[in-house]
Structures are given as C-alpha cells and as structure tokens.
Amino acid sequence: MEISVRQICFILIFYNAASKLLQYPTLLSGYAGSGLLFSALVSFAVEGAVIWAVAYLSSKTEKTLFALVKDTFGEVAARIVYGFFAVFFILCSVLPLFEHKLYVHAIFYDTVPALFSFLPVFFFTVYAGSKPFKNIGRCADICMPVFILSFAFVAFMSLSEVDYTNLLPLNAAPAKSIFGGSLKTALYFTEPAYLLMFLGHYKYKKGDAARLVLSYAGGAAIVLFFLATFYGVYGGISSSRQFAISKTSLYFSAMDMIGRVDLFALYAMEFVMLFAYVLNIQLAVHCLVRCTGFKSPEILSFAVNAALFAVIVAFDRFYTAIQSLFAGWMWIPVVLFAVALPAAAWGLRRRRNES
C-alpha cells in the first residue's frame, strides 16, 4: 500500500490545522464575530460526518475511487470525474497561494519585496507535486513533530495576553452570521475530498474509521483552540488582523529581551503549511494522471504549476477581489466535491453490489 492510515491521520490533524491558521480565523471573525467558534464547529461537524462516511466506505472496499466509478459507469466516466476533481484541487490551491504569498512577504521580510522573492516556491511545488502518495505520507510523518513543536511554542507565547471572555456571551452572534460564515469559508474545508482520493491506496484495518474521524476531530480541536485564542487576544478587531498565526504571539512579555523568537516557530509552521498547500497540487496531478492516462507526473505537475504561476503573476495585486470572489461561490464546488460526491461514493458501492 502506498500510504498508511497513520500518515492519513497526520494529514487530517496537522495539514488540516495548518491550512486554517492563516486567513481563516481573520475571515471567520469578520463574518461571524464572536460566534466564530460555532461557525467553525458547523463546518467541522459537516465535514467530520463526510470524513466518517468515506472512512467507513474504505472498510467496505479496497478499490480506489477511480475503480469504483469505472465499475459503475465505465472508464470514460471515471476519467471525467477525475478530470473534474483535478480542476477542483487546482481551484482549491489558488486562494491559499495568494495567502501564502502575502504571509511570506509579511513575516519573512522587513519591507515588502517584489513578487520575485515568492516565486522560488514553484521550484518546490513542481518537484513535490509530481511525487506519489508514498512521498505524501512520509512528508506528513516529518511534519508531525515540526507542527507540534512550533504550534505549542506559538500557543504558549500567545496565552499570556489572551482573554477568553472576549468570546462571551456565547449566543451574541446571530445564526445567520454563523451559518453565513461557515458557507463563505467553506473553501478551507476540503479534507473529505483528500480522503476520497486516498481510498484504495491504504490498507484498512478494524477501527481505522474511528481513528480517521478522531484525527480529524483532533485537527478541528487545534483550530478551535486557536480561533478562541485569536479572538481572545484581539476581540472585536480580530477581523482586521491579517495572518492570524503570526499575530497572537506578538505580545509575549519576554520578546523585548529575547527578540522575535516566535518567528522561528512561524518559519517552522510555514514549512508544514507548504506541505499542506502542495497536497492540493499533488492530488490534482494524481487526478490528471488517471484522467489523461499520461504517465509523466512531472510534466503534469509542471503544467499545473505553470497555470498557478500565471494566475499569481496576472492577479498579483488583486487578493481582496479574488478572496471575495472565492468566498462568494467556492462553496458550490466544495459542497459538490467535498460533501456530495464523497457521500455519493456510497451509492457507487451499493449499485455495484446490486448489479
């Protein structure tokens, strides 16, 4: 098997959390205010249920999604489905790419540098994007201690200034803003689609479904803790604090003496975030390989990254517009590919049994 359940669990905990620590807290506090925890809980609950469905499905079949669709609808349909998934994963990597660029410029440089300084990331994404699932799993193993140490460090530095009463009263935010927040930030919740892609590529053992769901819950707990801390530090002005993870530890009292040591933790976190980000590209390349039958993932990875490169060069200064655009309609593909299709995979299985 190419990837182990343990490695998928790490992805569901650490990549899941790492991908939601940049702009997600800022945006969610803007949409849902002090109700951001409820809004996040709604998203995590829905996605968690889908994760459980896909994890449970893997206990019933050893086939990949491609094989399941092929058995039910034929190879052409399977290729088309994978083609759509490839587009979905590419779309999922657009906004994080812009966020990363801005985040990198904010925490790695004293002055705002040229776009050029961010572009070397494409050397990495082209290379890593072509790697198989085995490599994804091993990288997740490496990222696990890096995330734990760096997050613990940032969290420790953040706790000195946090005031959790900022979240009170718990029922202050109206239901509309809570659900609206969930919908507009849906683009950060794509983990069920990841798990669907891993289907058939790992060996399922008894109890693994519970392990996967608990891992996702672990990732959710980290994010919820951070959301509470972030809102606890900044309260009503949270929505104006960009790149949340780099802001909570700013007021650590010993910083005057020891300097911005939190930056080292943030750099380590950025390392994990890079791997979390590149997972979308790796899965897009995987889907394209199956869709096109083209045997060279390196060339497909280059093509995917060239497209993303073109987007970031063309829309370098339009992050806000792109963010609004994605918040406005990205929930549709997310619901389709990360909720509806994973659930529909159960239908595939049943139909095959009946036939």
């Binding site: 490695q7 890593a128 091993r138 990288c139 890079l274």
Partner: protein, 478 residues
C-alpha cells in the same frame, strides 16, 4: 613430463618483473624443487620454515602426494594451470614446482606490508574498544571473526578491479540479513569493470543507485565493534582490501548521528549527546544563512540588544553581509583544506597565520566583521560533531548561504521542503533513507535521535527487515 625449467620459464614469461623471485633447491634424496614468489608481499621466513626446510631434509619423494605430506604449511592448494599460478604469485602467495610433475602447489604465504592495528583518528572512543580496521583485508576479517563467532557468519570474497584484482569481502549473518540482499549487492559490484579499486569509496559508488546524489547512500565504519553491531542488525558489511574503511548497506541517515560510544555509556548521556549532535548539525548548516538573511531581509530575527552590537561591528565593513559571509566561509574552507594537506609543522604555522594574520588582522582592518568570523567558526565546529556527514553538510551550508543571500529565510524554508521531499522519496535496498522518522517506525525510535536502555532495544531495527527480529531475550522481564 614437464621439467622444472619449463615450468619456471612459463611463469617467468608472463611475470617478467624483477621482483618475481625464483628459489631452487634440492632435497637430500636429490629431488629438485622451485619456489616462485613476489618479493615484498610473500613471507620468505615462512617459506623457508614451512616449505624449504622439510623438503630439503627429506630422503626420497616419490610422487606429488608424498611431497604434499611433507609440507608444513597449513595453507596448501593443488593446481595445474600456469595462469592460476601467475595470479596467486601476484596475490602474494608462493608456487612450488616439483621436478618431473605437471601439478604444483600454491602455498599461502601472503604477507603484504601492513600497519599495526590502531585507533582510527575519526572515531576515537573514551569508553569502548579502540581497535580499528587497517588496510589488510585478512586482518580486518580476523577482527570481525574475533567478535562474531557464530556459525552463521558468512564472508564471501569476490574480486573486483580488472588490473588490481582487489579482494572485496561481503560479510553478513545468514538468517539475520534479509534474504537476497547479499546477492543483490554482489551483483551490483560485479557489474562494474574498472582498472583498480584503491578504496572502499569506489565500492560505495557501485552499490549506490544514485552515485550523483549529494547524500550518502551507504554507511561506513572504521571500527570492528561498530561494523559487527551493524552486521548483527541485519546489514551487509563490505571489506575492501587496501581500505581501512568498511562499508555497510542498507543505510539510514540516522546512523551517522549514532556513535559506538553511545552504547557503552548511560542512555541519558547518549540521548543528550545525540540531540546535541542533531542540533549542532542544524546550527552548522543554517547559522551562516540565517545570519545573512536576518541582516539582509528580517532584522527582527535578531534580539534588539544583539542587533545593536552587531550593527556597531558591521559599521564600516565595505562588503555586503552575504559577500562577507561567503568570503569568510571560503577562507575557512581554504584553511581547512590546506591544513590537512600541509606537512605537520607547516600546518602549525598555517593555523597561526590563519587565526592571527587572516582573522585578527582582517577584523582590525575593517574588512570582515567579528560576528561573521564567530559564526563561521562556530558553524565549522558544529558540523564536525557528525564527521561522517561533513561532505554533505558542508556542501549544504554553501547552498543555504547562497539561497539566504538571494531570497532570505523564505528560501531556506523552501529549500528545506525540497530536501525533505527528496529524502522522503529515497530508499536504499528497500530501506527508506529517513527511517525511522519517515516512515515513522515506532519501535526503531528508541534508538534513533534518542537512545533507550538496552532492555528497550530487544528487537532489531524493523526498518531493516531483518530475518530474525529479536536480538535480546532476558529471563527477568525488565
């Protein structure tokens, strides 16, 4: 019946060199003999004592079998082909011709010049065995045999090198080493045709799937205790005649952070030292790069008071931080290279010139700042905490420095991601290079960056897929 002269001439026709000596003698009974050997690598005293003396004293010898019984040497081989005789003479053995006989004897008298067994300079131990391998393969094989007396220890000798005909010994324990691995390694070595094998590093290149890789793909050992421990874990060891450095495969990067001494002292101390080594290597690689990127792109990385100190030091320095660091590192590498190559006494003068003239004067002249020298010096010391990785880490330090000078710390993060992705995709004979961290092998973590006590290390490393998993059984469960 071939005459003695005819046999001697056949050999001398091929081995025309002046150091091939012929010693003819006659027994009491009047039988003629001739011993041919290469001067300098065959033991003449043994030839006299074990071959010439008993044969000379013999009354009459009818037939080659009787002659064989008279020979006192424990290593006697029958032979009847002149090319084989030539090969054995070149190898250091002697050939004994008997007048009137077609067959002849190969007498094992090989005694090439070799230094005494001593402690290897790169693996000095305060606690634990001090014996090190030497250039003679037979001595090295003996050092291994001395430690592993198991009947399952296999030493398979092959020849490599078209002209050097170097002996290469594959050492492994049957049943512990994964099945098929020695054969795979043997095939990879045999596939190469090369003139000469001057050192085991040639064999390392043969068995590395990617010889161009920046990262090591085989392990090395200079001490038999470490070599034997690796063999007992399920690896294949390779001894090469003429090289004091043994090679082991499969290899995991974590091996280089472990030293033999770790196993002879308390696990707490060993763990502390391993962590220090790991941290030192990271500091050694990253410190010059981080300093440059902090100065150029993110001064907040440096604590404020330290920043004030640094800024006063770098004031007036005509070079940019990256060029300054680059040049300082270059000077260090030049001094390092020169001090190794120069004669001992000149080397002493060189270190004075390097430290005082270059270092002190350059700072006083305002060409290089003090922090740059401190950082490079500390980095150099840090890298040598893991000497087996210095080739790789010193190159990585250059690469990181160039990247830091170009795009700052973000480049360092991206480069690290790139390297980790590469290392995660690499296997050596089916064993992941980054094991037991990626993939995570829980049982093997007890002897990775930390070192647990002996009773925790009951099993052989699972990453190596040894045929026999258990290495320690004890009656009292502890």
């Amino acid at each position: 019946m071939p005459t003695l002269e005819k046999n001697i001439n056949s050999v001398k026709k091929i081995l025309t060199s002046a150091d091939i000596l012929v010693f003819e003698f006659i027994s009491e009974g009047g039988k003629k003999f001739a011993a041919i050997y290469a001067d300098g690598i065959a033991d003449k005293a043994l030839l006299g004592e074990l071959v010439v003396k008993p044969l000379r004293a013999a009354e009459a010898e009818d037939g080659i079998e009787k002659v064989r019984l008279l020979l006192a040497s424990p290593e006697v081989k029958d032979c009847n082909r002149i090319p084989d005789a030539v090969k054995e003479i070149s190898d250091g053995n002697a050939v004994l011709f008997v007048d009137g006989e077609k067959d002849f004897f190969i007498i094992g008298l090989k005694s090439p010049p070799a230094r005494a067994i001593s402690e290897p300079p790169t693996q000095i131990a305060v606690k634990g065995p001090r014996e090190g391998f030497i250039e003679d393969i037979k001595t090295n094989m003996g050092l291994v045999r001395k430690r592993i007396k198991s009947e399952n220890l296999q030493i398979k000798t092959i020849k490599c090198g078209e002209r050097s005909d170097t002996a290469v010994a594959l050492v492994y324990i049957e049943g512990v080493c994964p099945a098929g691995l020695p054969e795979k390694i043997e095939k990879q070595i045999s596939e190469n045709e090369i003139d000469i094998i001057p050192d085991s590093s040639y064999i390392s290149s043969f068995i590395s799937k990617r010889p161009r890789s920046l990262f090591k793909r085989v392990g090395t050992a200079e001490k038999p205790d470490i070599f034997c421990a690796k063999i007992c874990e399920g690896r294949v060891g390779i001894l090469v005649d003429g090289s004091p450095i043994a090679v082991t495969a499969p290899y995991m990067i974590v091996e280089d952070f472990q030293t033999g001494e770790d196993y002879y002292q308390s696990s707490y101390r060993a763990t502390t030292l391993r962590l220090i080594r790991a941290i030192s290597v990271f500091i050694g690689i990253l410190l010059p790069a981080l300093y440059v990127s902090a100065q150029l792109f993110k001064s907040q990385l440096i604590p404020f008071r330290l920043l004030l100190k640094i800024s006063s030091s770098v004031q007036g320095i005509p070079l940019s931080p990256s060029i300054e660091m680059f040049l300082t590192l270059l000077v260090l590498e030049v001094l390092n290279e020169a001090s190794i190559r120069m004669p001992k006494y000149v080397g002493l003068a060189l270190s004075i010139v390097g430290a005082l003239v270059l270092g002190d004067t350059a700072v006083k002249a305002g060409i290089i700042s003090t922090p740059a020298i401190i950082i490079i010096a500390f980095s150099a010391i840090c890298l040598y905490t893991v000497p087996d990785l210095v080739e790789t880490t010193a190159t990585l330090r250059w690469i990181y420095l160039i990247v830091a000078g170009s795009i700052g710390s973000f480049g360092l993060v991206v480069l690290t991601g790139f390297i980790i992705t590469y290392l995660c995709s690499e296997n050596v004979y089916g064993v992941p290079l980054l094991a037991p961290f990626a993939p995570l092998v829980k049982g093997d973590l007890y002897d990775a960056m930390t070192k647990s006590n002996l009773y925790t290390l009951k099993n052989r490393p699972a990453s190596l897929r040894s045929g026999d998993k258990v290495r320690l059984k004890n009656g009292n469960k502890r």
